[in-house]
Subunit: 683 residues, 2 copies
């Protein structure tokens, strides 16, 4: 280990990055960036500096010599997108946004990186930082929120798919309105993650030649050398997945080979490119080449290593580097101006395409609400499974909403999504709208986020706030035949707890339409629509698409109610039937509430919530999931407390006591028992 | 497509599997198996028959010519293990267990496959099936529960790791007490999944030459041909991950090339082997070679295709096949008898090793409870983070418990697990006990299940019931620096809803010891211990390791309480301080309950639960997660309702209102407001 460090340090000295002789502009820039990174990591006793320091030449190659962007307008549409999949190196991204002149990314902001510990002692206000520990999409210049390793690669694949489709739909001879490429920086960590391997395989399969992944191959992880945990021939693996692979044997000092590799990659057709760049983590510092550099502090000696004799203060860039990057702002202005000119020519020559493009940029969903409100789906209460209704609704929407993209993980047939062969997006049809993701569910979710991020404008909020609609089928134990390994009984608890996610469990065709209304109206959040595999066997009356927009609503009301039953999804049918039986056979006045979306219900006024839920002494939820959120509203629950079973179809509901007779008996018994406990699971 | 089917049908006819001429014993067996599979899929209008029919020759090659097993004792320790990663083909496994003479797997049971729809109309009892939709570990002969695609490959890697370690520890010259190999069958679906790619990379890295993966390469998925979604050069990819690759170009008819490939694989050293076997899904049937064969019914013509003129009934095997497989029982008996003899010799020659081996077989955790109960960890209330205590406890346990295996995903240093270099399990040290999993978290979890399954005996229960202890660090928003992408606020909701999983969130060093006690005592379920990154800043008194075994307990009691505060993890310290302030400064009698494990608390007697939680009008939970389960017990919650923030260390607790002053104020205000709502989130 010692020799690696020494070699790196000597190499730094010999090769001029710490020497005092005249440096080229690029060398000076790399040196200044490294100095600034050391200063930032020292300001708060830590940060992920090692990777960032190692990647400084790559950063100069990308931001100075390769990428098209406009610092004055981070959201200029035809910019190249950069995804930092090794997101812990975020400080490199912030530093480059600062150096290239993004106005919000001031040196004061960089000083707040990993430094927003406690509120201001005087004002008592919390400091807001834009230099988050990992990149967050709401910061201009950050394309996607890359958190857990590996997902950034999938996000980048999503952006590349969106850009490819955009180019295929809108580029015309002499009017190349989409030139945007996607650059992704990854470390070894991302490449080990399954989600990345899934995404890399899809990208190769689709031949996305607008995607360039730069691998910061520093051979070191958090715990030690990479060869402790990886024996892959990474290049061979990428080639086997259909990628073009380029090696850069030394990415520590000169940016020239990196620039050349990037140029080569840009010219390569029909394959995405993987550039494998050998670097040294924490290059030149006292912990260079070792795991200690990954996340830690730098010594006083490290602080002086890259210091310029003319510059005494920390957190400063030399005048030369400042002026070297000054052109970025002007270049960016010109790029956008040129593009705007092209666009106005395009509007004249290709007015129809220009209108469609504008609709895409605006994210218009023309009249979709009226369409959904008036759609006749022939829901007669007992007829089709919610996933069948969904297929029919989806097909009509695909005809109607050109901006809708979709995809499935090898369950297109089984989910009855209809024949979409004519709409397939593949390497021969980049103008398609339906993506065959293969059996790669995790990548599907992360790629969808990338696609949604492509056309999104400025985004605000806690995390990404991207409008991705996940259609989940095989809901609960109703997925009988595949057995308990395939029957979620706990996932609703996760989804309902996830901030800013809408989890909707519609019961009928009416409510599936309502779910889509809600999902499409919610422009700044993802939605999961959870659909059942089997048709209902009992008629439910009173569900209503518009009421879904309130999260929960009464479908059966009575005077002086003793019990309110709250349910969702497939179980609503049995609940409804049980309520009627409770009224007629047991003389227990029973109301029924359909609650397809708890989080939306909780956003309603207190008086509305009370009107729906607080008029009876007993409020009992009926749902074939483990009961978690329901105790917020309910005095008892009929719920799962085990895994499911290899039954068939609707029979599992009876097996686990969700049929109307079982509900009837449990509720009757419970009411008679005059329970005193705060909440109870009814068995 | 038509031509593929026709080709397969013609090939079947030409090559003698449907012909009437004399067949070899193997051919007859393959034919009988295919006939039985068609019959089983017809009995209930469906099932996953296509893959199973295609793999019939592979099955005969494995069960007749390759694997070592004893039908009379499915748990004979030194058996070869088979993992069906494409678990939807479960009926093939059940059929082979039947044919080879596992006594429980009768023809009557096979008839219940996918046929346990509704209760018996007469007895009203539900039929129990042992032929679940996907393999389940509690059925003798099933090694692991392979559910979602890809995980079975990881389970197999875990079994291979365990077997390698076993051989390294216990095999002696002339006493090869462990010969067990791991066979895994996979389809293309598993290979697309990220978790499988993670696991394959680890297996190659570790050089597990006792692992043989057989790829049923039928080129078809649920939705259509495989080339719609996969362009990988699968063999090249596996080679790049360090695997030995063998091709079998036709696996449809003769078992000979498959047997030869398996023999080759067994002789190959220092690499795991991947056998790529070209097959035809639903071979010979009317839907052969197409996606329609994956999951569906078979026609009347299909039913006669493999029928023997002598055999009129469905669900029958020819006398010839029955007698061909009769030897399996006798062979198995001899294998186990020989092994038992070897073991008794071993006990004489290597008594110490034999004792250690026996302890391993029994799963003994010698005196670990007393050890943990008496362990001095120097917990003074304010000193170390729970993850630091955990590191110290873990190191002592590794010294003490030789049967403990462990591993980490590149956070060994960061989680302060101590220097375990001397215990590393790698290709040069198969006797090691600490696995470097790399940055492959999903595979780590699934491989751990495989390791746990290796030594487990007969297992009963709902799902796998394997004792795997997951130590999760970077708990909640206390993981400040990495920002909200790395701060779970919703995961506890998932874990707490997952049946048969223990989720423990200890607050102090005392409770970390208690968490290990609970985890080690719970022999039939997995546990997650969630640990904090930062040391407490406020002293908490009254936590107790033994009380953790009751899930929740009172740590501060008062007379005539008005408020009970319930908390866990890092927030307990602030809650405790807030309670003291509420008593002294606001005159509100306040109790404090520490609740490290909700599910265990719910298993206590009602009177104990009431004693801990029901003596005050206000019961308020304090936890920096989204509140889900708490409403079961509480009238209000101080909880997260958003994602976290890139703060630093303990500061995030203050930012989000979990410091003692904020708790004090929220509780005081709430009590004064005389709330009437059932449950409320305090802001």
């Amino acid at each position: 280990m010692g020799s690696i460090i020494e070699e790196a340090r000597q190499s730094a000295k010999v090769n001029g990055l710490t020497k005092m002789e005249p440096l080229t502009d690029d060398e000076q820039a790399v040196r200044d960036i490294r100095k600034l990174l050391v200063d930032i990591c020292r300001q708060n006793g830590g940060g992920h500096g090692g990777g960032a320091i190692g990647m400084a030449p790559l950063a100069v190659a990308l931001w100075k010599k390769t990428m098209r962007y406009n610092p004055a307008n981070a959201n200029w549409f035809d910019r190249d997108r950069l995804v930092l999949s090794n997101g812990h190196s975020a400080i490199l991204l912030y530093t480059m946004l600062h150096i290239t002149g993004y106005p919000h990314m001031t040196m004061e902001e960089l000083k707040l990186y990993a430094n927003a510990k406690m509120p201001d002692p005087v004002t008592k206000k919390w400091k807001a930082t834009i230099c988050h520990g990992h990149p967050e999409i709401e910061i201009p210049g950050v394309e996607v929120t890359t958190g857990p390793l590996g997902q950034g690669i999938a996000n980048a694949v999503g952006l590349a798919i969106a850009s490819k489709q955009h180019a295929a739909l809108f580029n015309k001879p002499r009017y190349e309105v989409t030139l945007s490429r996607i650059y992704c920086i990854t470390g070894d960590g991302c490449l080990q993650e399954g989600v990345a391997q899934e995404a890399l395989a899809i990208a190769g399969h689709l031949g996305l030649d607008n995607l360039i992944v730069c691998y910061d191959n520093n051979g070191v992880t958090c715990d030690g050398p990479l060869d402790w945990i990886v024996s892959d021939d990474t290049n061979a693996k990428l080639r086997a997945m259909g990628w073009n692979v380029i090696d850069v044997s030394n990415g520590d000092i000169s940016i020239d080979p990196i620039v050349a590799a990037l140029e080569l990659a840009k010219s390569h057709k029909k394959q995405p490119t993987f550039i494998n760049i050998k670097t040294t983590i924490g290059y030149g510092t006292s912990t260079a080449g070792t795991f200690k550099s990954h996340h830690g502090t730098y010594s006083d000696e490290d602080a002086t290593l890259y210091a310029d004799p003319d510059v005494v203060d920390t957190h400063t860039l030399s005048t030369r580097t400042k002026s070297y990057f000054k052109s970025a702002v002007e270049q960016g202005r010109q790029l956008e101006e040129k593009w705007n000119l092209l666009l106005s020519e395009y509007k004249k020559s290709c007015p129809q395409e220009a209108e469609a493009l504008q609709s895409r940029l605006d994210g218009t969903l023309d009249g979709i609400e009226d369409f959904l409100l008036s759609m006749n789906i022939g829901d007669k209460g007992v007829s089709q499974a919610t996933r069948q209704y969904n297929g029919a609704i989806f097909n009509q929407m695909m005809d109607r909403v050109p901006n809708l993209m979709a995809g499935g993980a090898d369950l297109w047939n089984s989910n009855q999504m209809g024949d979409q062969g004519h709409r397939i997006f593949d390497r021969n049809h980049y103008n398609g709208r339906v993506i065959r993701y293969g059996i790669r569910e995790h990548a599907m979710a992360s790629i969808s986020n990338g696609i949604a991020a492509y056309a999104a404008g400025v985004r605000m909020g806690a995390l990404s706030n991207l409008q991705v609609i996940h259609v989940a089928t095989h809901d609960s134990i109703g997925e009988g035949q595949n057995g308990p390994t395939h029957q979620p009984v706990e996932l609703d608890s996760l989804y309902r707890a996830m901030p800013n996610l809408q989890y909707i469990r519609p019961a009928t065709g009416e409510e599936v339409v309502g779910a889509w209304l809600l999902a499409l109206q919610s422009r700044n959040q993802p939605t999961i629509i959870s659909l059942a595999r089997d048709p209902p066997t009992v008629a439910t009356r009173g569900t209503n698409r518009e009421c879904v927009l309130r999260g929960g609503y009464t479908i059966l009301d009575v005077e002086n109610p003793v019990v309110t039953l709250v349910s969702s999804g497939s179980e609503l049918q049995f609940t409804f039937a049980a309520a009627k039986k409770l009224i007629t056979e047991a003389g227990i006045p029973t109301r029924v509430v359909s609650m397809p979306c708890i989080s939306v219900f909780e956003q309603q006024t207190i008086s509305y919530q009370d009107e729906v839920l607080s008029s009876s002494p007993h409020i009992i939820s009926v749902e074939a999931y483990v009961s978690s959120m329901w105790a917020r509203f309910c005095t008892a629950s009929i719920a799962m407390d085990s895994y499911g079973y290899s039954g068939s179809g609707i029979g599992n509901f009876t097996r686990f006591g969700f049929d109307s007779d079982s509900i009837f008996e449990k509720v009757q018994k419970h009411v008679k028992a005059k329970p005193t406990r705060r909440w109870q699971l009814l068995k």
